[in-house]
Symmetry: C2
Subunit: 445 residues, 2 copies
C-alpha cells in the first residue's frame, strides 16, 4: 500500500506530461517488470491509465493499457431490496483473493453510500462506479434528473475516493433513433436512462453539454473517466451496427477532450459480438480513440447460453484481449438471469483470469508463460501440491481432485482417478523415456 | 432412426465414390440443409465422414467435416474400480439431452464389454472407442501386447457396432526421442502405451506395421478411423514442437492410405496450444492431411486452471473450429483432476455446444444465428419462457433465474433481480423508444 497524501492535487497524466515519475507509476513499473520511464511515457501518451483517486487511501495502484498485462474487472453490488454490506464485502474479498485487478460497485439500493464507503476502505484495487445509478435513486422519475444532480453525485463520489467512473456521455440524441431499429434496443442501464431523458426533454445528453464541468471534478480528484458505451449491442444481431459506431465516434472525440484536460480516460466496449467481428471491433476502437485503453464487457459470442455466459464471454474476451483490449469486465454464469452470488463471482473471476492470462501468453508478454510451465512441471511429476500451488483456484482444484478418489487414502498417491493406478499415461510415458535411456546405454556398449 | 441392415457390406466412402447417395447421406443432407449430392461429393473427396458401423442399429447418422456444422463429442466411461453401467448410461443420456453429436466410451475397467454393449443399444449418435484400452486389459504388462492382440480387439469391437476408433498409428519409434525432450512428455494414454512397447521391443509401432490388416477390418464393417495424436502436447511449452509435427506428417501419409482403401478417416489434434498458435495448427493439419476432418481436443489455452479446463479449452476450441476443425472433443472441469461426474459432463457438453455454435455463427453457416435471434427477441420482451425455450440448457437457466428472485411470486414478472423492478434497462429503453414515436408524431402534427 502506498500513501499518497503528500502528492499535490493533480492527475497522474498531468504529472507524467511534466516528466514526473510518481510513486504510483513506480509501483506499476515494478509490478509489470517495466522501466518506470516507460510507464510515464505511456501515461503521458494516453495509452495507459492508473486509476488512483487522491482520497483512496487503501489503494495499491494498477495500470491499465496495452503496454502492461491484461487486467480483469469484477462487478459487485446489490440491487434494490437485495444484498447488504456484509454480502458485498464478502464478494469483494473473494474477487481479490482470486486476483481481480479492479472492482466496480454497481449497487442501486438505499444503502448505496454505506456499501461504497465500506468497499473503499477494504479495496487495494481501483474501485469504480456508475454515478447515474445513485443520481436516479435521488429522484422520483428518470425525467427529473438534471446535469447538476448528476454532477453533484459525481463530486461526492470523487471526494469519497472512487477511482474511476462510467459516464454515458457519448450517447447523443441523434443516436436514439438508430437504436430503435434494433432487435434488443438499448441494454446498458445508464444508456437507457440517458436515452429516456433525452427523448422526454427533447434535449441533448446533459453530461455531454456539461462535459467541461465533469472534467474539472475529475482533474481535481484524479478520477479516471471510463467512457461508457450506452449503445453497446445487447445481442449478436445488433453488433457492429450504426448505433454502436455512431457512439464510438463521439467517444473518440471525448478522449481528446479528456487528454486536453489532462484527465485519465479509458473507453468501454461491447457486449455481444460474433467471434469473427471481434478483431475488427478492437482495431476500430484503437484507431478512433487513438490507443486509449479499451475496457470490454465480454464480449459474449453467442446469445443462446444463459447460465453459462461466463463461458460465452470468456471466449470473446480472450479474442478481444489478443487484439488489444486492456481490461476485461467479467460476466458471471448468472448474467441475464439475476444478481450473482458468491459462487457466480468465483466462476466469473476465474473465467476472466483465464481469458486475460491466455491473451498475455499468446501476445508473448514477458514471463507470462512461467506459471503455466511451473504448473505443468508439477503435473509431469504427479506432484499434486505443486499443481494446486500454481493453480488459479487452488481450493477448487484440490476439492475436485480429492472428492474423485476411490480410496481417500490415495490423496497423495502418484495417480488420479482418470487412469487409475495401472495405466497412468504420465507413468507409462516416464517408463518409456527411461527405457529409451537404457536403450541408448545399450547401444553405446 | 434408419435401419441399414439391407445395405451391402461396404463403406460410405466407397459408395460415395461409386456415385451412390446412401440413406445415411440423405439423412445428413436433411439435417445440415445441404443437397444430398454435396454430401456425397464431400465424402468421396474425403472431407466429410459419416461414422456409421453397419452393425450399429440404433444410429441416426451425423456428418463430420468442414462442409457441415461443427460437431462436439463427449467422452464417458469409468476407470478401473470406478463407475458402472448405470452411471455411464446416465452420463450418455445427459450428454444426448444437451446435444452431443458423438460419444466415446473410454472405460478401462473389467466391465468394459458390457458397458459398451449397453451404450451402443442406447446411442443414436456415433460411438467411438480406443481399442488399445481393452487390449491392454487383456495382458499382464504393456510389453505383452501384440499386433494380433490389438487387431483381435478391434475386430470384436467392429462386429459389436463401434462407429469410430482411435488408433495411435502415426507415433513411430523415431519420434520417441523427440518426446523425451518435452516438459510434459507423452500425455496420450494410447501414445504412452505404444511408445513404451516400441522402446521395450526396439521395434516399430505394431499397428503401423499391420495397417493394411486394420484397414481391411474397417472396410468390412465401415468403421471410421480416427488417427490419434499420441504425441499431442500436454502443456503449452510442448505445443507445435518437433514431436507433434513429426507425427502429423505420418498421419497425413496414413490419410492417403485410408482413402485408397476407401476407409473413412478423421485426424485427431491437440491438446494444449497457446491461443496465437491455433490458427497455424489448424491450417497445417488441413494442408498435410488434405482436408480430412480435424477432430481436436480443446485445445486448452493455458495450463494454470485445473478445475476450469472446460473454459480454458472452450476458448481454444472456438478458435480451432473458426479455423477449420470439424469436431471438438469436450473437456470437463475435472480434466487433469479425476473422472467426470454427471455435473462435470453437463458443464463440459454445454461449454462445447457454445464453442461449436459460436464458430458456426462466426463462419456464417446458414441459419446458425437464428436461435440467437430467437432467444434475443424473447429477451427484449422479457419473455422468460421464450428465453428458456431457446437456451442450450433450459433447466439450468430457469433454476438460476428462479432462485435469484427476492419474491418467489415474481417468477413470471417482467423484470429480474439484476436491475429490480424500478430501473430495468429493457423497460426504460422500451419507454424511450416509445417516447421517440410520440415525438415523431408530435413533429408531424
Amino acid at each position: 500500500m502506498l500513501k499518497r497524501t503528500g502528492d499535490s492535487a493533480t492527475t497522474q497524466m498531468s504529472r507524467a506530461l511534466r516528466g514526473e515519475v510518481t510513486r504510483a507509476m513506480a509501483r506499476v513499473a515494478e509490478r509489470e517488470r517495466l522501466e518506470p520511464e516507460t510507464v510515464r511515457e505511456e501515461i503521458a501518451r494516453g495509452r495507459l491509465v492508473i486509476p488512483a483517486n487522491l482520497h483512496h487511501e487503501s489503494l495499491d495502484p494498477r495500470g491499465i493499457g496495452v503496454a502492461v498485462t491484461t487486467k480483469i474487472h469484477t462487478n459487485i453490488g446489490g440491487s434494490a431490496g437485495r444484498s447488504g454490506c456484509e454480502e458485498e464485502l464478502g464478494k469483494l474479498r473473494l474477487a481479490l483473493k482470486l486476483g481481480t485487478d479492479a472492482v466496480m460497485d454497481l449497487s442501486v439500493g438505499d444503502e448505496i453510500g454505506e456499501i461504497r464507503r465500506t468497499l473503499l476502505e477494504n479495496c487495494p484495487v481501483p474501485l469504480g462506479t456508475v454515478p447515474i445509478y445513485e443520481a436516479v435513486q435521488r429522484v422520483d422519475r428518470v425525467e427529473d434528473l438534471t446535469a447538476d444532480g448528476i454532477l453533484e453525485v459525481i463530486e461526492e463520489q470523487a471526494e469519497q475516493g472512487v477511482d474511476f467512473m462510467t459516464v454515458h456521455v457519448g450517447l447523443l440524441r441523434d443516436h436514439v433513433p438508430l437504436a430503435a431499429k434494433r432487435l434488443a434496443g438499448i441494454v446498458s442501464r445508464g444508456g437507457a436512462l440517458t436515452a429516456a431523458w433525452m427523448v422526454h426533454h427533447q434535449r441533448e445528453n446533459p453530461l455531454y453539454e456539461s462535459f467541461d464541468r465533469l472534467l474539472e471534478i475529475c482533474r481535481v480528484h484524479d478520477v479516471t473517466l471510463s467512457l461508457g458505451d450506452g449503445l453497446r449491442p445487447g445481442c449478436l444481431a445488433d453488433a457492429s451496427d450504426a448505433a454502436q459506431f455512431a457512439e464510438l465516434d463521439v467517444l473518440g472525440e471525448l478522449v481528446f477532450r479528456c487528454r486536453t484536460a489532462e484527465v485519465q480516460v479509458m473507453v468501454e466496449g461491447p457486449g455481444h459480438v460474433p467471434f469473427d467481428q471481434i478483431e475488427m471491433n478492437m482495431k476500430r476502437q484503437q484507431e478512433i480513440c487513438d490507443g486509449a485503453p479499451f475496457y470490454i464487457l465480454g464480449p459474449i459470442v453467442t446469445d443462446i447460453a444463459p447460465g453459462y455466459d461466463h463461458i460465452t464471454s470468456a471466449i470473446g474476451a480472450t479474442m478481444g484481449a489478443f487484439h488489444g483490449a486492456a481490461m476485461l469486465c467479467y460476466v458471471t454464469p448468472r448474467e441475464h438471469l439475476g444478481l450473482p452470488d458468491a459462487e457466480d463471482v468465483r466462476q466469473g473471476v476465474v473465467a476472466y483470469k483465464i481469458a486475460a492470462h491466455a491473451a498475455d501468453v499468446a501476445l508473448g508478454r514477458p514471463g507470462a508463460r512461467d506459471r503455466d510451465d511451473a504448473l505443468s512441471a508439477a503435473r509431469a511429476k504427479l506432484d499434486w501440491e505443486g499443481m494446486f500451488k500454481h493453480a488459479l483456484d487452488p481450493q477448487r482444484a484440490r476439492m475436485m481432485h480429492d472428492e474423485s478418489l476411490v480410496n481417500p487414502e490415495d490423496v497423495d498417491a502418484d495417480f488420479c482417478s482418470m487412469c487409475g493406478p495401472k495405466h497412468c499415461a504420465v507413468k507409462v510415458s516416464r517408463r518409456a523415456v527411461q527405457g529409451l535411456s537404457d536403450e541408448d546405454g545399450g547401444a553405446r556398449q
